[in-house]
């Protein structure tokens, strides 16, 4: 059953301190008389729209030793998320209505966060022929975002077709921008450090060339493009110019690309191996600037769990990817708030409402508008903490381990219920 809550003395994104009332799962303007509420002292906490992650690898079906929908949901709730988007590179690949519906159902069963499947653009992520995008869009999973993430839709004709085709369903193609021929054996950012370490370079142009091409195809087709995990200053500039020209593009940046740089590869510890790779300080600065000025729309985690044996190896043998659901907020706070360069309204937009709009999730990103489902995240901006490798994710490939973090999610309210309360995960009500 859904409780009634009075969140007392909470700070909202404008800075105003007030009470927030939830009744029967919905936000209301004022507590109804005759209704009993659990009163919670929320002084010092900031309430934000429940976070929406556009880019989560949940690994189920197929790779349940790394993560399941249930374990990923727990990690997401602890990170303040009320909705996550499950990437399609599972086994089987989420390229049919059957698989996306299965993933959505697993999400409902876990019940801690709304799990919105992303559908593959091409059959088996192979980049050869379009998957049944219409069937996925019209399925119970109501897919709007299509992505071959992990692979780039590098064939320009196929990318053009995909962009054209999804227009019928108000869909969007989310591109993992990586020109494959320019990144053969790529292991880290191309440059002096890669040369010194003897690791194959991942040149920035391999990302930027695909983005430039896709922006032109998007303009040509009048469709909608989303650029996954933008990692270079040049990509930010391309997207900035495209937006100025009115091209319908959105872009995401990961917490790790906002915080970490390629120097971390120096010790050959594969916990820092990720695709696209960690870049230079200048790139990090450009990404932050793009996030603040609106060029980049969302922070998306690209949470990519891997079992220990995939990282406890030499660099080249190790898998690409990092976990990130539980540290994303702290990174966002550091970049937007603690830097003094932005504000909580922008933070709410990049962590929640922009992603909800891109994916067309009606129940998410609504914040405090009366009558909407209560999907809220309460954070303590003053709490400083040290992330541990172990999180609620099943995997420990956590590159934020050992860093001092400021600001932490305290409670998460999903559909009017606490999924995470006082730093503890809640079991689903009734289960």
């Amino acid at each position: 059953m859904t409780g009634n809550y009075l969140l007392q003395g909470v700070t909202i994104t404008t800075g105003e301190v007030r009470d927030v009332v939830i009744e029967s799962g919905l936000i209301v303007d004022k507590a109804s008389t005759g209704t009993s509420h659990e009163v919670m002292d929320c002084s010092g906490l900031v309430v934000l729209p429940g976070f929406v992650d556009l880019h989560t690898h949940l690994r189920e079906p197929g790779f349940e030793q790394s993560e399941t929908v249930a374990s990923g949901s727990r990690s997401a709730a602890a990170g303040g998320y009320t909705a996550i988007h499950a990437m399609a590179n599972t086994f089987p690949v989420a390229d049919t209505a059957g698989v996306v519906e299965q993933v959505a159902r697993l999400g409902e069963d876990a019940g801690l966060v709304f799990v919105q499947p992303i559908g593959a653009v091409t059959v088996g992520l192979k980049g050869e022929q379009l998957a049944e995008l219409g069937a996925m869009a019209q399925s119970k999973a109501r897919v709007r975002i299509f992505s071959d993430d992990g692979n780039c839709v590098h064939d320009p004709a196929l990318m053009r077709r995909a962009l054209e085709y999804v227009k019928a369903f108000d869909g969007v193609v989310a591109q993992h921008a990586q020109e494959p021929r320019l990144t053969v054996n790529a292991q880290m950012n191309e440059g002096a450090l890669a040369t010194k370490l003897g690791l194959g370079g991942w040149p920035k142009v391999a990302e930027e060339a695909i983005i430039a091409r896709d922006l032109m195809l998007t303009e040509l087709t009048g469709s909608r493009l989303h650029v996954c995990h933008v990692s270079t200053a040049g990509s930010v500039e391309l997207i900035r110019q495209a937006k100025a020209r009115g091209i319908n593009v959105s872009a995401e940046v990961t917490p790790h690309h906002l915080l970490l740089t390629e120097d971390l590869a120096s010790g050959y510890d594969p916990v820092y191996k990720v695709n696209p790779p960690l870049r230079s300080t200048a790139d990090v600065e450009a990404l932050r600037e793009g996030l603040i000025d609106g060029t980049i729309d969302v922070i998306a985690t690209d949470h990519a769990p891997h079992p220990k044996e995939s990282k406890d190896t030499d660099w080249a043998s190790a898998a690409f990817g990092m976990v990130g659901l539980e540290t994303a907020y702290s990174v966002a706070q550091q970049v937007l708030i603690d830097s003094g360069k932005s504000n909580f309204e922008r933070l709410g937009a990049v962590m929640s409402s922009n992603a909800a709009a891109i994916s067309g999730l009606a129940q998410q990103g609504k914040y405090l508008s009366a009558g909407s489902a209560a999907n809220l995240t309460l954070v303590d901006p003053k709490d400083s903490w040290d992330p541990k490798p172990q999180t609620l994710s099943m995997s420990e490939n956590n590159p934020f381990t050992g860093l001092k973090m400021q600001g932490r999610v305290r409670h998460t309210i999903y559909n009017g219920q606490f999924s995470y309360r006082d730093l503890s995960i809640m079991q689903r009500a009734g289960s």
Partner: protein
């Protein structure tokens, strides 16, 4: 010195000490009984994930001349995934009593990783990791250059000596380690190769030449070090044909005539005769190739001795 992972692990004094110790070891190798009892009871494991008979034999001989026990473990072609077998194999060998693991692996940083994880506690010698480094090769090259250029080499560095390294600078671990070590020792190091195989960060250092004829004229090197050309570079379009490579970057009779009379020619072996070096150059009196092989044993003795006896630490 706990491990030898990179030429950068050595400062100038350490490098000179190692080279001097290698000279002592070289004297042992010239004796009737080429054996010292120093490392009796110690175990040296050659853990080779990549074929390299020459390097393996050189380490093996070095260890045996110091009376250590030697285990050779060729892990190439194992069905286990590369990474898993690095950790597991190293742990297995350590459990058998390895004091030193000499590692050759196709993955850059693997020796560093073995030394910096809690996988094993043995001393690690990097015998070539991917396209990263091959520090004992650089030491044997430095020893060869020093002997060839300086009459009484003990205690000396390489100040004033001009070295030209020619070939695939992007992928060569020999080039990387030599660039570091020879520079540490005071040599003036220039490099030359196709622009496709010269990383931008190197080019910006200013001592890169794209054409061998220009390089010979401009640098007037005391040492020319030819790198081995890997076949796959051609198929990946780094250069068009063997013929063109040989024509522009190969050391041949005509270029041999243009380098100084006393210029040393080095090659890490095995040579592709007719590609990066022709027979006339390979067999000329300038060729130091066999000295390099001889010095390889001495240098590796010095390294094992230093790691296991705590000398020169």
């Amino acid at each position: 010195m706990r491990h030898l992972l990179s030429a950068a692990d050595l400062d100038k004094d350490q490098a000179i000490k190692l080279l001097d110790l290698a000279e002592d070891m070289s004297d042992v190798n010239d004796r009737e009984i080429k054996k010292l009892p120093t490392l009796r009871g110690k175990t040296v494991v050659n853990l080779f994930f990549e074929d390299s008979t020459r390097t393996r034999i050189s380490f093996e001989l070095a260890a045996k001349r110091l009376s250590a026990d030697v285990i050779n473990f060729a892990a190439k072609g194992s069905s286990v995934s590369k990474g898993e077998s690095l950790k597991d194999t190293a742990q297995t060998l350590e459990a058998m009593g390895a004091d030193v693991i000499v590692l050759r692996h196709s993955s850059s940083g693997s020796a560093h990783r073995l030394a910096h994880t809690d996988w094993v506690g043995s001393a690690i010698v990097n015998a070539g990791d991917g396209s990263h480094e091959h520090p004992t090769q650089a030491l044997l090259d430095a020893m060869t250059i020093r002997q060839g250029a300086i009459k009484h080499p003990r205690g000396k560095d390489l100040t004033g000596i001009k070295v030209l390294i020619v070939g695939d600078l992007s992928h060569s671990r020999v080039a990387r380690s030599n660039l570091i070590l020879l520079t540490t020792l005071g040599a003036e190091v220039h490099v030359c190769g196709p622009a496709t195989l010269a990383p931008a960060s190197l080019v910006s250092s200013g001592r890169v030449h794209f054409l061998l004829d220009d390089a010979i004229k401009l640098v007037n090197p005391d040492v020319v070090m030819m790198l081995r050309v890997q076949q796959e570079r051609m198929s990946d379009s780094f250069f068009p044909t063997e013929r063109e490579y040989a024509r522009i970057w190969g050391l041949n009779k005509s270029r041999l005539a243009r380098i100084g009379e006393n210029t040393q020619i080095l090659h890490p072996g095995p040579m592709n005769r007719g590609l990066e070096i022709d027979a006339a150059s390979a067999d000329s009196k300038n060729s130091m190739v066999l000295n390099q092989v001889r010095n390889g044993v001495a240098v590796r003795m010095a390294v094992l001795l230093t790691l296991l006896s705590g000398e020169a630490s």
